[in-house]
Amino acid sequence: MTDLERLWEDYPVGPAPAADILREGRRRITARRRHAVTRPLLAAGTVLALGAAFLTGTLVHRDAGGSGAGTGTTAGQHAGPTGPSPVAFQADLPAATSCGQLLSSYVDRGLARVTAWGWDDGMLGGLFDDQANVPLPSVAGSAASMDGFAAATGTVRQTSSATGTNVQEAGVDEPDTVKTDGHLLVRVHGGDLLVYDVTGAAPAQVASLALPRVSDPELLLTGSTVVVLGTDSITPAGADGHGTAGTRVLTVSLADPAQPAVADDVAYSATLLSARQHGDVVRLVLSSGLPDLGFVHPTGKRTDKEALAANRALVQHSTLADWLPTYDAGSGSSQLLDCHNVAIPPADLGLDTVSVVGFTAAAPTRPTAIGLAGAIGVAYESADDLYLTGVPQTSARCPGCVQPLAGPAALGPAPDGKTDVFDFALYGDTAIHVATGTVNGIIADRWSMDSVDGSLRVAVGASSTTADANAILTFRREGTRLVESGRLGGLGRHEQIQAVRWFDDLAIVVTYRRTDPMYAVDLADPAHPRLLGSLKLPGFSSYLHPLGHHRMIGVGAITAHERSTAQVGLFDVSDLSHIRRLDVHAFGTGTTAVAGEDARAFTWLPEHRTVLTVIRHGRAGYLAILRLHAGRLVTTTVPVGHGGDVDQARTIGLPDGRVLLVTASGVRFLAL
């Protein structure tokens, strides 16, 4: 690779022909405006019967089930994969009244989307489906409330989850390649599940188990059950990345750690967007994507018009089996969603089918599932609520105009600059849609959202209808609406949000263009978010981690000559109106901090006053060990492998204070 890297850098490139590009860009915008007049109306005439599903069942009250795991379920809800949940849609999302109505909703919207080249100019749908994917935040950080914490506005220490993963939300665990309960450690390596005893002087492997029919697996651990989530390798997406990859869920019993055994094996014909575990309940958000209907495209013998007509006919003759996901627990494939449990979204929502699936680790073959016949961008789950953001319909058919093609719709809100947010209350393994809100601005990813005591806070980027700056918004639930109750705008004009960290009554936001403005926002009065202070520094932080009430770590980068250098900063946040950087450690040129993309590559060990974070340099990976000493960072590094192995490197602090380093080459204790 070094030869290729040298060729990359040696390749002679002149300056950008900026004037030509600008002139041509302006010219095409003018051309586009002329075309826009003839643009066909999408899904015209669709009028939604708002609230139609409102009275179909008894309202379930939040306090009925409490927030404990599994408490909201009853035996009746386990009747099968489409367990009856007549009350699944209690707000303005109407459930389909019949399978016929659901199918015509798909067909109508499909006809608005299909072109002579298939979906969206030949690019199959589901383009940006993965932007909300499980492991990889580009904006990082959140802390939940801590019991008994009642001090003034400030940061709060956050440590890894009970299974050793650095997660967004305390109490809500996230899948990872390594999990531990303090005594046993499980990890995936190659296609195998390896089990280690970590109670001795050195970790000892006690068993390995080949994981069947699943690729790129990740793990959850609850009690003595490992839940394995991965891409179904029986029905993988096409080699060109088109088509929808299925998801496989295996449960493995560790009742006898030396003899791990696959207990259950369930396949879903939809791609995993998000997986979370709360107590013994596992919740999945799955996307089915647009069906591959065998579209044709124009050839020498087939004109554009003929191809379009053929493709429209294919959409018209599609069946619900094309659109709805299936589920197979070993006894044959069946439909995951009952038509009556699928909500038909507002007409401007993109075309997709999103399933919200819940099951207990003990009974993965009996999930409950509800669906939304629309596209979502971001899934954020707190202990009590699941929030999904809508992705607007792309206007695929705009002959001759310069289309931003298929993807960008998912990049931002609809042309009116607004993003729908659907709030699902969680009761055990069931999810109930309880409210919808509209956010004016762009929600970048799950780390931009936070929920505390049922109220939602969001960090948004600018949209076409907002001022060109970022904002913090607070929402309260009024009936079935999420109503904006407070807004603080003007955070970083022309800049993008890089990191957000939420506390009960505080948000810390990093934006970036050339310098790193870090803002502290007081949320104690949700109706009046207040800017406490800001700090500008070169470079930026893409992951923030609070060490405690006085100190915070920012992991990020500083850019020079198109090459970025990873850096870790130590901040004093004891006075939020005067955040100070106490120290910064920059790594070599061309390094990147993996934690900026994947918070799981970061561990804070309070008892050692040490931060561990993985740094990548070309193909090589290093674990940076940063010890806090007298307001400084004392840094050493340890190699952790090469290539794809670097992304798998993890560190875990055990309850007894010992620290495990898990790399492709094995599991060992780390001497600090």
Partner: protein, 173 residues
């Protein structure tokens, strides 16, 4: 587009130009074609700039656009012929200072990356060379982050094992 936004766009275009041209070459374009593609990509981005400018995955969008432009170009290639000449109205001719060096490097790169399938090459170029994040690469290619990871490690292993790489650069330097 107002003046501020246009200034931001120009700055972005200037910053990205080198990476875009190199990426196009690594994705299989010849030197002139690569500059055309980079230019077309940026021109198309201008039209969608208001939606893109604050999007967190702006880079993913831009590189997706580059891949689409490349695909469009390939689609019409059979009747235009495969000769790498500046075709666009925005003639690219004199911007490549040393055409022979560019041609030699592009050639070496194409031979080196020929061992990879197109999906794997796309991942390597976006993730490894352009240095998009895993999530951005996934978004740009419309695949899952897990697939990015597995394709990347497979491809890097493949390239590392490839003996041809050793004599790659003899003629280009």
């Amino acid at each position: 587009m107002d003046d501020d936004a246009e200034a931001a766009y120009s700055r972005y275009a200037a910053e990205q130009w080198g990476r875009l041209v190199r990426a196009a070459v690594f994705l299989g374009a010849g030197p002139h074609e690569a500059e055309d593609l980079a230019q077309t990509t940026l021109v198309r981005c201008y039209a969608g700039w208001a939606r893109v400018t604050n999007a967190d995955n702006r880079d993913a969008y831009v590189y997706r656009m580059l891949l689409n432009c490349l695909r469009d170009q390939r689609r019409t290639r059979w009747w235009r012929g495969r000769v790498d000449v500046p075709t666009d109205v925005l003639a690219a001719g004199e911007r490549i200072e040393d055409t022979s060096e560019a041609v030699a490097i592009a050639d070496a790169v194409h031979r080196a990356l020929a061992t990879l399938t197109k999906p794997n090459r796309d991942v390597v170029v976006l993730r490894y060379f352009v240095q998009l994040s895993e999530a951005q690469t996934a978004a740009a290619l419309g695949i899952s982050a897990g697939t990015v990871k597995s394709r990347l490690s497979r491809s890097l292993a493949r390239l590392a094992a490839d003996q041809h790489l050793l004599d790659l650069t003899g003629e280009s330097r």
